[in-house]
Each structure stands twice: as C-alpha cells, then as structure tokens.
Amino acid sequence: MNSLVLQNATRALVPLLLVYSIFVLFRGHNHPGGGFLGGLLSASAFVLYGLAYGVRAARRLLRVQPLTLIGAGLLLALTSGCAGLFLGRPFLTGLWTGVTLPEGSALGSVLFFDLGVYLMVLGAALLTLLTLAED
C-alpha cells in the first residue's frame, strides 16, 4: 500500500502507540492493563507500520526476529519467577524493592515477569501477522 495519508499518520502514531504500550504495561500493576495488553498494543504499532511501508520495512524497524522475542520473553518471565527461589521462597513469589514507579507501579520481580509476557505477546503476534502479511 502506498498511501501518503496513512504513511504520515503512521509516522505520528507509531511512537505514540509504543509509548502507550509501555504505559499500559506499568499500569497493569494495580489497574487493567499489563504485559498482555501492552504487548498487543506494541504489536499493533509494528503492524500499522507494516501496512503503511510494507512488511520488510516493519521487520527492519523491529531489528530482531519475532522468535527471538518469544524466547527472550519466556526466559525473562521464568528467571523473574525463579528470583524468589534463591531467597527460599516458592516459585513466582513477588519480590519488591520498595521503589515506586509512575502509575502506581512498583519495582519488583513481578514487573519483569510482566515484561517477559509483553515480549512474548509482541513476538507471537508479530510472528503470525507478519508471516500472513507476506503472502
């Protein structure tokens, strides 16, 4: 597709969508939101870019393979779950540093778990959508 309107709108929307996806990720601590929604939102940003500039451009923008994102997300989520194990607590126990972050969020192992979910959802959504869009 080669639409001037879409391309210009995309240029403005993609950063907004990406920032908003991060906002939703943090907001998920105590409100609706979280890694899953955030991941979908950021995937939508890349898909929009792909619609405007083509799938190859979207892949260049992403820089890494979607599969790598899935693997990294899974490993990040698992290791954050294991953090409690080193302190003798059960698997997936939330550990908190006491530092508060914007949007009522707090810095702790749970945030990294959510970040892992974010990366996995982003990777999985892009893997499917970009592959479908190529044909």
């Binding site: 599969l67 693997g71 899974l74 003798g88 059960p90």
Partner: protein
Amino acid sequence: MKLLLVAPILIPLLTAGVTVAFWRAARFRAWCGVVGAAALLAAGGLLLAATAGGQVRTVQIGNWPAPFGITLAVDLFSALMVLITGIIGLMVAVYSLADVDIPRQRYGYFPLFHILLAGVCGAFITGDIFNLYVWFEVMLMASFLLLALGSERAQLEGAFKYVTINLISSMVFLTGVGILYGTAHTLNLADLALRVPEMMDRHGHLVRACAMLFGVCFGLKAAVFPLFFWLPASYATPPAAVSAVFAGLLTKVGVYALIRVFTLVFGSIPGIYALILVVAGLTMLVGVLGAVAQFEMRRILSFHIISQIGYMIMGLGLLVSSDPGVRTLGLTAGIFYIIHHIIVKTNLFLVSGTVRQLGGTYDLRSLGGLVRAPLLSALFLIPALSLAGIPPLSGFWAKLGLIEAGFLGGQNTIVIVALLTSLLTLVSMMKIWNEVFWKPAPQDAPEPAEPMAPGQWAARFIPIALLAGLTVLIGLFPAPLLTLAGRAADRLLNPAAYISAVNLHEAAVAGLSTTQISEDKP
C-alpha cells in the same frame, strides 16, 4: 525442595526458551533439546526419591496460601508419572535427532516438544483443578502444532479432527470447572476432597453433573469408549517420534486425571465406579476389534492404545468393590499398567518409525522380509509380547494384578473380557510380526533404503534398545515397581495425608460449614 517441585515445569520451559532464542544454531538447538530432557529425567528421579516413602510434597506458588493460590502437590503417583515422562522425553528426544527432518526442526520441533513435556508434567504435579485445565491447554497447543508440523495432507486432516475434538473437550472441562466453583467455592483439589462429600446431600445432582462433565472430557483425552474415534485418525499421521510421544504420554494424562479426580474428589458418588468398569470393558473390546481390520502399522498400534486404556480404567473401576484389599490391588495394578504401557507403547511406535525407514512404508501389505534386520526384529518382539502380556515381560504382571483383583472382587465378566482382549492383542501383534518381519518381501515393495549412517543408527536403536531393556527389567524384577505402585495406590485411597500436606489456610477450613449454610437459604 521448593526448586525441585517446580523443576518438572521449569526445566522444559527453560529448554523451550533457550531453543527458541537460539533458533538459528541447528546443532546447539538439537543437543539442547536432548540435555533438557535428560535434566527432566534427573528431576523426576529426585522427585521420586523425595516421595518414595509415601510423603506428599507441596509448594504454594507465589507464596499465596492454599486454597487461594495455586498449589503444586506431588505424591508418589505424580512422581512416578513425572519420572516416566522424563524417561520417554529423553528417549524420544534422542530418537528425534534421526527421525525428525531438518525443516521440521527449523520450524520449532524442539521448543514445541519441550512445551508439550511441560504441559504433561504440569498436569501431573498440580493440586488445583483450574491449573490442571491450564496445563491441559499448554499440552494441547503444543500437540496441535507438533501434529501439523510439516503440513502434509494426511497430517492436516488428522490435526483438524484432533483440534476440533479437543477444543470441545476443553469447553466441557471448563464448564465442569465453572459449575464446581459455583457450588463448592474452591478449585483446590484437597479442598474439594473435603467439601464435595459434604455437598452430596444438598447438591447431589450438581456434583453428579460435574463428575459426568469431567468424566467426558478426561475420557475424551484418554480415548475411552465411546470417545476414542479421533485417536487412530490423528496418531497415524505425524513423524514417528511425534506419534511415539503422543502415544506414550498424552492419553495417559487423561487417565491420570481420571484416577486423580475420581479417587480424590468424586469417589463418594454412588455407582460411579460401576459405570467406569463398564466403560473399561467396552473400551478394551472395541479397541482391540478395531485393530483387526487395519493394515497400517501405526493405525493398528493406535487401536491398541485404546484397548490398553481400558485396562488402566479397569484398575480404577475395580474400586467398585468394598473390600479394601481388592481396591488397593486393583488400583496398584492400574498404576503399574500405566507405567508399563507408556514404556511399551512408545517403544512400539519408535520401532514402527524405524520399520518405515528400512521398509519405506507403514503399510503391512507392502512390507516384508524385515527379519533380515535381526536386531530390529528382536526389539519389536519384546514390547509386542509385553503388550500382549506374555511372561516374563512387564505386561504379564500388570495384567495378572488386574485379573487377580477382578476375580477377588467377583467381577468375572470384566476379567473374561480382559483375557479375551489380551488374546486378541497377541493375534494382532503376531499379524504385524508375520506381515512385516516374517513373510518374504512382496514384489511391489519399495526399494530398501540406503544403509543408515552410524549416528542415525545409534540415535534410532539406542532408545529402542533401552526401552526394551526396561521392559525386560520390569518383567524380571517387578517387585520394586509393584511396591511403589502399591504405596501410590494406598495413598490415593487414603487421601488424608495428601489433604493435610496441602496445608489449607485455617480461614478456608473454618469457613467450611458456615458458607454452605448461608448459601443454602432459600
């Protein structure tokens, strides 16, 4: 201990993560898959050591007290199942090095394989019925993809049936979970074990409805009569390594769930075990008769999975007896049967893959003369005879236990059905033997494949030989496994230790009667 209990889930998931993250490095990926499976086997062994005395080990995930959070509870039965999953996982992972082609490996065979193992292990160790649903789904998602991986026409057809039927069964499961939560206000298995018998007076109809919903959905996964039709259609299509791990593990997760839920939660429903016993008999007979008409090696073996499931369910159905000795013996033999069957059936599918490699096809009519490969012939005979229950192999002891328990419990009909099925199984195995190995190769046989490279040969024969060796070993020295299975059965029938190990929060136990009373006001 806290690490060990989550290890059966953590190890396969970590392996899957690493193999996905480094998906370009083909060799590394494959070896990582094998090492991960070996680590799972080690974890299974440690878990068995930690529960061998009959202890129940629990951990509250995320440190949320039971029944509010998710509890993992590992008793001897769970530990045995995790250990056998590790054994099968390692053997099939090694076999995959030779059997699964490079394109399939590139499209994520090893990560999917390990996610499947994580789902299977998760289902075995969870102490929460909704979590059981989640692990079922994890397992199913991976199995859908493994089944369709390669996108051959027959595969997609089989996968379509498999996906449809399993989605329906998941919905039935979820409905059951919903009703159960609505009436009992808990999903923790130990908590349910306390509450459901109390609910039988006032909410008997709902409890029975739930039990039927669970029975149908676990029955579908376990492929019992009359819900077995999807199994031969789908198991005969993917690569041999995939169908071997499916044949060994997936239906057995259904059997495990049946045994767990119908001993721990729904055991107090009158007439439930009699129904299970009837289903068991029909499953045996229909499965073995279905195999007679087949001429495709893996379809024959698939029908035999169904008939063998009948024996395992028979162990559960024998709880119909009121004699505690018969109950324990029946369930012991059922558990022993599961372990024996997983080893033997996986091995037969692995052999069928090698037969295809040597003979070029799975079709009995175009095969023949494979007795020229004496090692493979011998390695086929061991699991095949064990499946039919010939002494001194492992299947003999499994069947002997069931038949003894059946006679002692006065269930003569089911014993006769079991013996007849056993005879027909032998006929069926001999059919494969005659057609594939003994008769001369027919004129239209495909050209014999080129000799395998030594690495390929080793990756195919070492797992088969080890599993056959295990069959013989269990056959010659059945006592250790029988003792363990007996202890596991004893713990299943006396769940007090399981319930107290879960360590339900006082508030939950105290509220047991009050919530019920306030709920039942008109």
